[in-house]
């Protein structure tokens, strides 16, 4: 009896422990799920993350010394309570401290909510592979009547189209899917041919494909259920057509590849993160940049203000706050993709800071000793322009008249529209967003771009 009683006591004790843990975990999950839809909590979580976690996991959560915290691979579990517990208890062996000693429970939940809000791609991904009849023409209905020859879950949450052992097959990938809550994205299949059959279902509803060769499907924002079906056509197909397809989430314009969704895409996007950040001196970089026109030279200042000078129009074609560029997409492979700015736009082309009559501008040179300075001639007058930042969130363009032998007395500069910045000048007069300067009286004038909002 004693033993039994003892055992009973132990059992009761264990049960209540498990019950307590479950209740606790589910409470944590509920709390964090709620916080994920609260902008204030996310903002706080972001600040805490940037202060405590970004050193090892990177500001963009892409991982360095610590794991990638936005992809589908979660060694220690990906539920809210898993992540919360890992933050709380740390991994002493791996050098990660226990943050329960540093941050309050609410703060740790905020960090968890922020991290989970950044999740990209599949979770709980399952797959089914079907052997198709090589003699028949293909259609989607065929899949319905077949039993899978292989099925299971994929721990890394990346669709692997190289799994089927036969050349002709059908495959279905299905799971929860995360993309950005604050911007539109599309799912794009690269390197296929029109005969490949695809079906994409989001939250149970079929989404129509767009494009013929590299087809793409608009995604919902945030979390959704995504089911992706592919049926190969009958062979032979062209030698360049590959059943191991690249699935990538991009912006709707398809100029920025955000993250890979299939294993071949993951390989092709590896090495596309080469970030240029001005630390002590300015960086000048001439690359193809998404959203900036050809001939733009990008300049990054250590004060985290950046701009683009265009050698064809002699205009400032963009200003952004943050770091300069990720040039990875432009120096990987053949370099088809543009570099991506690492910050928030004050304005970008076609909004620009442009001299009237700039069509006849002649770019001369730029200098790198000291602050990068661009020299050009417009309407018979030679100018230089240099961007500098002495106040936080402010970029000042200093224009100097270098030569005005034709005695031109008026220069007009169109100012860009910006919802995020104020653009002004203490020189000359501004009317209808055009700054007019008397170039005979003023050999120097400046234009400020001041980012609104941030302290």
């Amino acid at each position: 009896m004693f033993k039994i009683s003892n055992k009973n006591n132990l059992l009761i004790g264990m049960l209540s422990f498990i019950f307590a843990c479950t209740t606790n975990a589910s409470q944590v999950d509920n709390d964090i799920t709620r916080m994920k839809s609260n902008a204030a909590h996310i903002k706080s979580g972001e600040k805490l993350y940037n202060a405590a976690c970004s050193g090892c996991h990177q500001k963009d959560l892409s991982g360095a010394m610590g794991f990638n915290l936005k992809d589908g691979e979660w060694i220690h579990g990906d539920t809210a309570s898993d992540v919360f517990n890992n933050i709380s208890n740390g991994f002493a062996n791996a050098g990660m401290p226990a943050f329960k000693n540093i941050y309050s429970e609410e703060q740790r939940k905020q960090i968890t909510a922020y991290v989970l809000s950044k999740r990209e791609g599949w979770s709980n991904l399952s797959y089914k592979v079907f052997q198709v009849d090589t003699k028949k023409t293909r259609n989607l209905n065929e899949v319905k009547s077949l039993s899978p020859v292989k099925s299971g879950t994929l721990k890394n949450n990346i669709a692997d189209f190289s799994m089927p052992e036969s050349k002709e097959f059908a495959v279905v990938f299905e799971g929860d899917f995360y993309t950005y809550a604050d911007k539109d994205t599309v799912l794009q299949a690269y390197g296929t041919q029109p005969q490949f059959i695809f079906k994409v279902e989001i939250d149970g509803k079929e989404v129509k494909a767009q494009g013929d060769w590299s087809r793409y499907w608009p995604l919902k924002r945030g979390k959704q259920k995504l089911k992706f079906t592919m049926v190969t056509p009958k062979k032979p197909w062209p030698k360049w057509a590959n059943t191991d397809i690249q699935l990538i989430v991009t912006n709707p314009e398809k100029t920025i590849k955000f993250f890979p969704v299939s294993s071949r895409a993951k390989r092709s996007l590896s090495g596309t993160k080469i970030e240029l950040k001005a630390e002590n001196t300015a960086i000048v970089q001439r690359k193809k940049v998404v959203d900036l026109p050809p001939y733009t030279i990008s300049v990054g200042l250590p004060e985290k203000m950046n701009y683009g000078f265009n050698t064809r129009s002699c205009s400032i074609t963009g200003v952004w706050k943050g770091d300069l560029l990720n040039i990875g997409p432009n120096v990987k492979g053949r370099g088809q993709d543009g570099s991506v700015v690492l910050g928030d736009w004050s304005f970008k082309h076609p909004e620009q800071l442009a001299f009237n009559k700039a069509l006849n501008c002649k770019f001369i040179k730029y200098t790198r000793d000291g602050s990068p300075t661009f020299y050009f001639a417009v309407d018979g007058v030679t100018y230089s322009v240099s961007g500098y930042s002495t106040k936080p969130n402010t970029l000042t363009f200093q224009y100097t008249v270098i030569e005005n032998s034709s005695n031109k007395n008026v220069a007009r500069v169109s100012l860009p529209n910006s919802s995020t910045s104020t653009i002004l000048s203490n020189d000359g007069s501004i009317k209808n967003s055009v700054l007019t300067i008397n170039t005979k009286q003023k050999s120097q004038f400046s234009i400020q771009v001041i980012v609104k909002g941030d302290e």
Binding site: P236, T311, G335, Q336, F363, I364, K365, Y366
Partner: protein, 479 residues
């Protein structure tokens, strides 16, 4: 065998064939070796611009956009932030000209601290549309002091004028251009596709290579002359006499009539897929017996081949023969330094190469040993004269040791051409010269063919075999 198995068999056979063709080919003449230069650590060092100064300093431009100097075994960075340069020239005043995609730029170190402080636009008068294939190759300097460069067509550019593969959005894509020292731009010649290599001969004549593809049957070497058309129809959209409609109506025969013949066809895969710049051995013997010959690297095959030209009926034509195979990466730039070493700039990014490394810099040096190789090949009234670097073993010079064949290519918008009308040619007579260094062969020749002589059976007096045994002669004209 059912249809499925047939396809499988055909596929495996073709894969096996591709495999054997693509195996890394290593060959090197006696006395030569390849030395690998250590490039700066953790720097993407795809060398696509290369020049050497009289004092031995090597200056390179990289695809990442940097310019580095190598002097007394030390690297220093001279400039950065350029837009994928694919050419570099040390100018007479010591400034450095770089051909970057949107611009021909002069880099000047005003304060002599070893770093460029002025990036001066010499010219950017052509149009660049941010397409990845819109390379700017060059420059070379003419005897008049002008600079010549070549502009690649675009690929997959939206809205570009294209007839299938390469395209142009206008602004002299597919043209060679001239820029005066004052920066005045003028279009120079047209009909170029992917003209990745340009060079000026010791006599000041300009030559360029173009890569195999649409309207380029196999890679080729041309003499570059002003106002001439080199075969790709797309660049005609910038010519005042043409419109899109007119171009689309031109037949292949009409285009063929308009275009220049190359000085040398470069057989695809066997010699090159994507040749770089021609470079001449002016070392007066410091680099071995191939004095005055042209050396060109290939990005895909990771090799260097020689070109031996002669003038027949006033036009250049001649032989192409592999020289060294087995470099570490894709050879896109070549330059002889003042001591007769051949420097080779390398990249494989995006297009791949036989050598497995993504980038690098190597040089070829010669130790004074006379190699046993084909020295040159000249057209005669009745066939060819083949000169060797060492006397041949008399026994080896019998007709059965020489095999001769000919073919031509089909000019069209298709991507490259297979060999057409391949035919073996019978040697009517072969004669060994008194010094045993030359063979004259009599064979029936017809113009507008590539003639290949395979001399695999030949052995030298000292019982050596040549490292390369096939030579390809572009026979535009007969004597």
């Amino acid at each position: 065998m059912n249809a499925y198995n047939k396809i499988l068999t055909a596929l495996s056979l073709s894969l096996a064939l591709v495999g054997s063709v693509n195996a890394v080919q290593k060959y090197i003449p006696d006395g030569y070796k390849i030395e690998t230069i250590e490039t700066p650590k953790n720097v993407r060092f795809h060398v696509t611009g290369l020049d050497t100064a009289p004092n031995g300093e090597v200056v390179v431009a990289t695809r990442l956009g940097e310019v580095w100097k190598f002097y007394q075994n030390k690297w220093t960075k001279f400039a950065d932030g350029l837009h994928e340069p694919t050419g570099l020239l040390i100018d007479d005043d010591g400034s450095i000209l770089v051909a970057q995609k949107p611009e021909l730029t002069r880099l000047i170190d005003k304060n002599n601290d070893g770093v460029a402080d002025e990036y001066v636009q010499l010219s950017g008068a052509w149009n660049f549309h941010d397409n990845y294939h819109e390379f700017n190759f060059g420059p070379v300097k003419t005897n008049n002091g002008d600079y010549i460069g070549t502009l690649n067509l675009s690929h997959n550019a939206p809205k570009a004028f294209s007839m299938g593969t390469m395209g142009s959005s206008g602004g002299y894509r597919g043209w060679a251009y001239k820029v005066t020292p004052q920066g005045e731009f003028s279009p120079f010649a047209y009909g170029l596709r992917s003209p990745a290599g340009i060079g000026a001969s010791p006599q000041g004549e300009l030559f360029f290579t173009d890569n195999q593809g649409d309207w380029v049957e196999t890679s080729k070497l041309h003499l570059l002359e002003e106002n001439k058309f080199y075969g790709h129809p797309i660049p005609l959209i910038d010519h005042p006499d043409f419109t899109r409609e007119k171009i689309l109506k031109l037949s292949e025969d009409e285009l063929n009539e308009m275009r220049e013949k190359p000085a040398a066809w470069i057989p695809h895969v066997e010699v090159a897929n994507s040749p770089g710049n021609p470079e001449w051995d002016t070392s007066e013997g410091k680099f071995g017996p191939f004095k005055g010959q042209m050396f060109i690297g290939d990005q895909t095959q990771s090799n260097i081949f020689r070109v031996i030209l002669e003038k027949v009926k006033g036009q250049y034509q001649g032989a192409v023969i592999n020289f060294i195979g087995g470099f570490q990466s894709g050879n896109i730039r070549a330059d002889f330094d003042s001591s007769g070493q051949l420097w080779v700039g390398q990249t494989a990014r995006g297009w791949g190469s036989q050598g497995g490394k993504p980038f690098g810099l190597e040089k070829v040096v010669w130790d004074g040993t006379n190699p046993f190789e084909l020295l040159d090949m000249k057209l005669t009234k009745n066939g060819f004269k083949l000169n060797f670097t060492e006397a041949l073993s008399s026994k080896s010079v019998i007709e059965k040791h020489l095999k001769v064949s000919e073919w031509n290519y089909l000019y069209s918008g298709a991507y490259g051409s297979a060999k057409q009308n391949v035919k073996s040619l019978n040697i009517a007579k072969s004669t060994l010269s008194k010094d045993k260094k030359s063979i004259e062969i009599d064979i029936p020749l017809t113009a507008d063919k590539v003639v290949m002589v395979d001399f695999a059976g030949l052995v030298s007096q000292s019982n050596r075999k040549p490292s390369v045994t096939k030579v390809y002669y572009t026979l535009n004209n007969l004597l």
